[in-house]
């Protein structure tokens, strides 16, 4: 270990981040995983712990990615990647698929985000009020509709700016929606008190985590 107090911790890798989310999903939940890092969560849920993955384009019961020589060209997910369907999987049209989301039938949605505020606001679809041709997709439906919204993202931007903030400066995806944030540094619940740190990367101090976080962090009660 190095002697520097600040550098003396090991952030979670992307694989570890996805794995930590995966471990927190119980059998039987219906789950939608957003495009990007969240998609990788599925790889860490063993098939015998049955979690049913939903994709906005009318797929319920997604399985692992197909082997290259076994691609079904009519089976893609919302990220437009080829997928497989598990036994028990089913197809529906877009309005029925979004009924699952908007009607509150998904137990969990995991999204990436640009910013999360300590009141649960999430911004994940546009980086400026004047974005040219902003693209929202299903993010607002998922954020407003799922029973629980978790965010999986880096703790800061590449240039070190905090992404866990007191107020989102980017356009909102949904207000007061996020229940939990998994970052490369910590797992943090969004509560009435604000951000409550559940666990941290090994070696990290609470003070150091706070230094990388705009909003105030709390210890569990």
């Amino acid at each position: 270990m190095s002697g520097s107090a600040v550098a003396d911790f090991k952030p979670f890798s992307r694989t570890q981040m996805a794995l930590r989310v995966a471990n927190d999903i119980p059998e039987g939940w219906y789950v939608n995983l957003g495009i990007g890092i969240p998609t990788a969560v599925a790889d860490h849920v063993p098939l015998d712990r049955e979690v049913i993955f939903h994709s906005e384009n009318g797929v319920l019961g997604m399985g692992p990615a197909p082997e290259k020589d076994k691609i079904e060209p009519w089976l893609i997910n919302a990220g437009k990647q080829y997928i497989t369907l598990r036994p028990g999987g089913s197809m529906c049209h877009h309005a029925d698929s979004f009924s699952m989301i908007r009607g509150g039938h998904l137990d969990l949605c995991v999204l990436g985000a640009f910013q999360v505020a300590d009141n649960g606001d999430i911004a994940n679809w546009a980086t400026s009020e004047n974005d040219t041709a902003p693209a929202v997709g299903g993010a607002m439906d998922l954020a407003a509709g799922a029973k629980r919204l978790w965010v999986l993202m880096e703790h800061t931007t590449k240039d070190g700016s905090p992404k866990l903030v007191t107020k989102c400066t980017y356009p909102l995806t949904a207000p007061a929606a996020v229940k939990r944030v998994y970052t490369n540094l910590a797992t943090i619940d969004v509560t009435e008190r604000g951000f409550v740190v559940l666990s941290m990367a090994p070696g990290l101090t609470f003070e150091n985590l706070q230094a990388k976080t705009e909003a105030k962090l709390h210890l569990p009660a």
Binding site: E27, Y30, I52, H54, L60, G88, C92, A95, G103, H105
Partner: protein, 227 residues
């Protein structure tokens, strides 16, 4: 392993509370979860609001549930049948409340509940008694009224096939209100004619995906008969 298939009526009916709103699927004698209704009678929950296309026939099923004084209110489109004596007696005696809803509005209100739509505009009922007290709005030159979603605490459904994830198919006119009752209910309990292995129902043929289903009881009673 997810297994929504329950082994007993007691398991199917566990934790149903007094005061629940119960959505009953079925139209005529077809696709009607009769065995589950009997289970609900046995289970004992009271002070129920029941939404169903009609209001029971003879002295069995829903009529029996009403006769036992367990139903506070009926929400339906057609409270008549070949033998509506139980409902009519209770209604004349002021012992049961009635909310008449056009059949399509009843269906759409259930679908809305399942789809996250708390209220919607419709032309059905405009200019009639059904519109009294409802919000009216002119949209693109036509007048509509606002109707609310109809949520179920409990939904009772009859399916043709089911698997352990709760995926369902229906047979012919047995489909009727079943898929929308499943969507609209917090707790959806299904009686099914056939239990299939997971994966045996074609993914393109599943009508109600298991996400809308909580418990499945195998009730292979055969064909419906009589009305």
């Amino acid at each position: 392993m997810i297994n929504k298939i329950v082994q007993s009526m007691a398991d199917a009916m566990a934790d149903i509370k007094d005061g629940s709103t119960v959505l009953l699927a079925g139209f005529g004698a077809v696709g009607q979860p009769n065995v589950l209704i009997d289970g609900l009678i046995e289970q004992g929950a009271k002070d129920l609001t029941v939404a169903c296309n009609n209001a029971g026939t003879g002295h069995i099923g829903l009529a029996r549930l009403m006769e036992l004084g367990r139903v506070r209110k009926i929400v339906c489109s057609f409270p008549r049948s070949s033998d509506p004596v139980v409902f009519e007696t209770l209604y004349r005696a002021g012992k049961i409340e009635l909310e008449i809803v056009p059949q399509g509005t009843l269906a759409e209100r259930m679908r809305a509940a399942g789809a996250g739509v708390p209220a919607f505009f419709t032309a059905t009922g405009v200019g009639t008694k059904m519109a009294v007290g409802k919000e009216h709005r002119e949209i693109e030159g036509r007048t509509y009224i606002l109707e609310n979603a109809l949520y179920g605490d409990l939904g009772l459904v009859e399916a043709w096939e089911a698997d352990r994830w709760g995926n369902l198919t229906y047979k012919l006119a047995g489909r009727n209100f079943n898929p929308i009752v499943a969507m609209a209910s917090k707790l959806t309990v299904v009686q099914t004619q056939h239990v299939r292995e997971l994966g045996d129902i074609d993914p393109d043929h599943i009508v109600t995906p298991g996400i809308f289903v909580d418990r499945v009881l195998h009730v292979p009673y055969g064909d419906p008969s009589g009305f």
